[in-house]
């Protein structure tokens, strides 16, 4: 009875105590969570910006703490619940970066600032979501996977519906929440099946993978796929992407910017964790010939690229267009996964860093334009090159980067992903991967078509509206700084690559 557990207790407690020192960034976030709530509760009237400040500070703090762990060798924490390794630290740093930008974005977003419910709650949700993101990329246990994923999801629903006075946002939030819930139910059910088959939740235990060999493919195949649906939902991979355009369009722009980056990146983190146990098996040929994991991923990636890029062509709403394009980008990033090695991950991580910079900058600029002129449609951007010359030039750089052309870091990122994919092709010779690569290349060309509709309208077309010189807001300066980063990183990619 109880006696069985006694040895475990001390071991487990020791592990827990030892783990604490590796958990500082998350502590910082947890502390930040509490402080934001407190500051919102007690000081919001006097210092309305205090929650933002606290959130910024604790995120920064968490970032610094994470940075210190970059050189840390991998270590399992809390009895194998989570793992702290180089990759997860990198992801955490990206989250910190995005969160900082998000806080600044919200700070300078008119709608959110003028909301009569204040922004304090948003920041507390952010802190929790960020904790969830960190845990997502560290999870090594199905329970933690589910838990952290739900945490991020629920937090995202709340963020989307944050401005409850707007019908669009409510609609977006509802779609997002219900769609997400269905997907996470699928995931949960898949986990339950896998648990039933393997008897373990621990992704890295030998027992976990055993179900692959003890049960027929007909059983584990669906189970695995159902589990991955939850992740695919977060990644908005085709065909789990339907929510994305609607939600991106409906949500407040800073939230859209956040959603299109952080949870997606975390989704990749978790995908890497989830697929890791199956990797040796798929190489050693247990993979069913018809149902190969790489095959499924490749088809998904191809479908995502096609739907994302071709869908974007017809969009007129800028945010919606960016939503579709982000579907395409996800498909593209998935390409980097195929090599499934440290090098491939490096390519993906680099891509993600650049992607988050590009996306954040793009949404900031779009938001700036929307706030100043109320224009949301690409067609309405006519002649904006005159009014917002600097901002629109920045936008062009961002779009060039999104397309993946030199001289922007987007090119280096795309280049690295292609490298990983071609290396995967080199080692496998799979025609599917070659197709994937070709589709990736073609989608680059297609993407140019819709991305460049913005500069096309902004610079090439004249509008009848009078030219008004707008004063640049702090937000546009932030976006210009991001643009500078895009240019900086193509000349000095080592500034990032050196840490990978």
């Amino acid at each position: 009875m109880m006696k069985d557990f006694i040895p475990y207790i001390s071991i487990s407690l020791n592990e827990t105590i030892n783990s604490l020192s590796f958990f500082y960034p998350e502590f910082a976030l947890g502390l930040g969570f509490l402080l934001v709530i407190l500051s919102d509760l007690f000081f919001a009237k006097k210092f309305p910006q205090l929650p933002a400040f606290v959130a910024l500070l604790s995120t920064l703090f968490a970032g610094v703490l994470s940075f210190n762990m970059l050189k840390q060798s991998p270590v399992q924490l809390f009895g194998g619940m989570i793992v702290q390794d180089h990759l997860s630290t990198l992801f955490k740093l990206i989250f910190c970066f995005i969160s900082i930008l998000f806080v600044l974005f919200v700070r300078y977003h008119k709608d959110l600032q003028s909301s009569n419910k204040g922004t304090g709650d948003l920041f507390s949700i952010l802190m929790a979501v960020q904790l969830g993101l960190n845990l997502m990329v560290m999870s090594e246990n199905l329970l933690m996977v589910y838990l952290s994923l739900e945490m991020v999801s629920v937090g995202s629903y709340l963020m989307v519906g944050y401005l409850s006075n707007s019908p669009k946002q409510s609609e977006a939030a509802m779609k997002y929440a219900l769609f997400g819930a269905v997907c996470s139910a699928f995931m949960l059910y898949g986990m339950s099946l896998i648990y039933s088959f393997s008897g373990s939740l621990d992704l890295f235990s030998a027992q976990f993978v055993s179900f692959l060999s003890t049960t027929p493919f007909f059983s584990w195949g669906p189970a695995l796929i159902m589990m991955l649906i939850g992740v695919a939902f977060k990644l908005s991979l085709v065909p789990f992407h339907f929510w994305a355009p609607d939600v991106y369009q409906g949500a407040p722009t800073p939230v859209t910017a956040f959603l299109s980056t952080a949870p997606k990146i975390a989704g990749f983190g978790i995908l890497i964790r989830l697929l890791a146990p199956f990797q040796p098996l798929s190489l050693s040929g247990i993979d069913n010939s018809m149902f190969s994991l790489t095959g499924v991923l490749a088809v998904t990636a191809i479908a995502s690229m096609i739907v994302g890029n071709f869908g974007a062509i017809w969009q007129n709403n800028v945010k919606r267009m960016l939503a579709y394009s982000s579907i395409g980008h996800t498909g593209f990033m998935l390409m980097g996964l195929f090599i499934f090695s440290v090098s491939g991950f490096k390519a993906i991580v680099f891509y993600m860093v650049i992607y988050s910079i590009m996306n954040m900058a793009a949404f900031m600029i779009v938001d700036e334009v929307e706030e100043k002129t109320g224009k949301q449609d690409i067609d309405e951007y006519k002649g904006l090159g005159k009014s917002f010359s600097l901002l629109m030039i920045a936008m062009v750089v961002v779009l060039v980067s999104l397309t993946g052309l030199p001289p922007t870091a987007g090119f280096t990122a795309k280049f690295l992903i292609f490298s990983a994919a071609i290396e995967a092709y080199n080692s496998s010779g799979s025609g599917l991967i070659m197709t994937l690569i070709i589709v990736g290349a073609l989608s680059t060309v297609v993407s140019l078509f819709y991305y460049f509709r913005i500069p096309l309208n902004a610079f090439l077309r004249k509008s009848d509206d009078p030219i008004i010189a707008f004063k640049n807001s702090p937000k546009s300066y932030i976006s210009m700084f991001l643009v500078f980063l895009l240019l900086f990183f193509i000349i000095f990619p080592s500034a990032i690559l050196g840490h990978l």
Partner: protein, 101 residues
């Protein structure tokens, strides 16, 4: 002792019933109920399999957490649905389609 497979087949049926509700009901709350069925089907699986996992206790612990998370999820979802009702005067998801291509 009831064999594990029986639990699982029942849970599969429950899952599908829930799924049907999600796909066909014209009311957000009923959809939510369908989702709860799906989650509970999973929980049933966990609990049934957890019986054989005494040391790690994974199944039961997972079920516990899942119940809690589901409840919290329902709370958030309902809050959102109420917001939607406030704006659209309906909670039929079919009629809430201002965001589309």
């Amino acid at each position: 002792m009831i064999p594990l497979s029986h639990f699982m087949i029942i849970s599969a049926a429950l899952f599908c019933i829930g799924l049907f509700a999600v796909l066909t009901k014209r009311n957000a709350i009923q959809i939510l109920i369908g989702i709860e069925f799906m989650i509970n089907a999973a929980i049933l699986n966990f609990v049934a399999a957890g019986r054989f996992d005494r040391v790690a206790g994974g199944g039961q612990m997972f079920a516990l957490f899942a119940i809690v998370l589901a409840a919290a999820g329902v709370a958030v979802a309902l809050a959102i649905i109420l917001n939607v009702y406030k704006h659209f005067r309906t909670i039929n998801p079919d009629k809430i389609d201002t965001l589309k291509n």
